[in-house]
């Protein structure tokens, strides 16, 4: 799937630019992509280093495990593949909660660590497990309570009520998350019980 999308993007993009005669533009883009990705990686690197450190404190002290046991009866229903009290569950929960508060940057390391933890439970290492897919569908549906970026942008442009859109955001993200979970559940049921 990724393979197909990736090649489609490149082929369509290059052919279309050549057809519309923008040869110089496409040269520039191809060369600049490497620099742009390096900059992006370097932006998230320190954040990941910092949070992996803090997270490890929580892991060594047994806090993550404790939280997992507490939330297992609730969140565990969405992730039947994760054993009760497994660290993965509290990492997923932390990622979702921090995302809800609009702190996407701080949430990412928890998400990556959750994926690592899920990969340990995964028996087919090159294929996504059910739990991984469910987790990422929830994540990409953008669960939010406080959309910090938008609020600050609205303030910057002098909105009379920068936060008036918060309720609308919560409802929209709630609808899409619930739909995502239902679609995922139906597909899983159709595929039969795997992983």
């Amino acid at each position: 799937m990724v393979n197909k999308i990736w090649s489609t993007f490149i082929i369509i993009g290059i052919v279309f630019t050549l057809l519309t005669g923008q040869v110089q533009l496409i040269n520039k883009i191809i060369l600049e992509s490497a620099k742009a990705s390096f900059e992006l990686t370097m932006q998230i690197f320190p954040v990941i280093a910092l949070w992996l450190g803090i997270m490890n404190i929580a892991s060594v002290s047994g806090l993550l495990k404790k939280i997992s046991i507490i939330i297992s009866p609730y969140l565990g229903k969405l992730f039947p593949g994760i054993p009760r009290g497994h660290e993965a569950l509290s990492l997923i929960a932390s990622n979702i909660v921090i995302n809800m508060f609009g702190l996407g940057n701080a949430a990412t390391p928890f998400g990556l660590k959750a994926m690592k933890s899920l990969q340990e439970l995964n028996d087919k290492k090159d294929t996504a497990s059910n739990s991984m897919v469910t987790f990422l569908i929830i994540n990409t549906s953008g669960v939010t309570i406080i959309p910090t970026t938008v609020i600050s942008m609205r303030m910057m442009y002098g909105s009379a009520h920068p936060t008036e859109i918060v309720l609308a955001c919560i409802i929209a993200t709630l609808i899409s998350s619930v739909c995502g979970i239902i679609i995922d559940y139906l597909i899983r049921k159709k595929e039969g019980k795997r992983g």
Partner: protein
């Protein structure tokens, strides 16, 4: 107020984690350094995936194909009373976080944050995620090649999120 709660979140979380570890008699410094060391390996795995994604997405976006498609569907959208100006942002949303923010920035400065278009843009931004980025980063970090139905479900969910955003804003603030 809401921003204040958000700002408190991180300091309180760090404080709680450290105090809990001290009560459990853990060497917090050693644990921190040990955990942080893992980040190098993680970044090395992630970089090629991010590079591959940005490379393909930039070529696709800059080719101007999306703008062409937009011109084609413009008549249909104006019939449905959807402000056409919002569509580039909607199309871009799952693909590129930076491009979406740039478009939203323009919408807010051109139409104002309290206009219908400004509000729809704000809600779309606040209620959706950059699906391509999340999937590439998260699956890439653990070397998953077959992502099963994650991609198209993610994109469907984005579409549902964007349509809900437009409908909800029209209901809440519509004329």
């Amino acid at each position: 107020m809401v921003n204040f709660i958000s700002e408190l979140m991180i300091p309180l979380l760090v404080l709680f984690i450290v105090i809990y570890a001290i009560i459990k008699k853990i060497n917090v410094y050693d644990a921190f350094v040990e955990g942080s060391t893992e980040s190098f390996q993680m970044i090395l795995t992630i970089f090629p995936c991010i590079l591959a994604m940005i490379f393909a997405i930039n070529i696709f976006l800059e080719s101007g194909l999306l703008t062409g498609v937009l011109e084609l569907i413009r008549p249909v959208l104006s019939m449905l009373k959807v402000p056409v100006e919002i569509i580039p942002m909607a199309l871009m949303r799952p693909i590129s976080g930076n491009a979406t923010l740039a478009i939203l920035n323009n919408l807010l400065s051109d139409f104002g944050p309290d206009s219908l278009i400004g509000r729809i843009g704000s809600v779309i931004q606040g209620s959706t995620e950059t699906t391509f980025y999340v999937l590439t980063l998260y699956f890439g970090s653990v070397g998953i090649k077959k992502i099963r139905h994650a991609m198209w479900t993610g994109l469907t969910v984005d579409l549902i999120g964007i349509i809900s955003s437009i409908i909800i804003v029209l209901l809440f603030f519509g004329p």
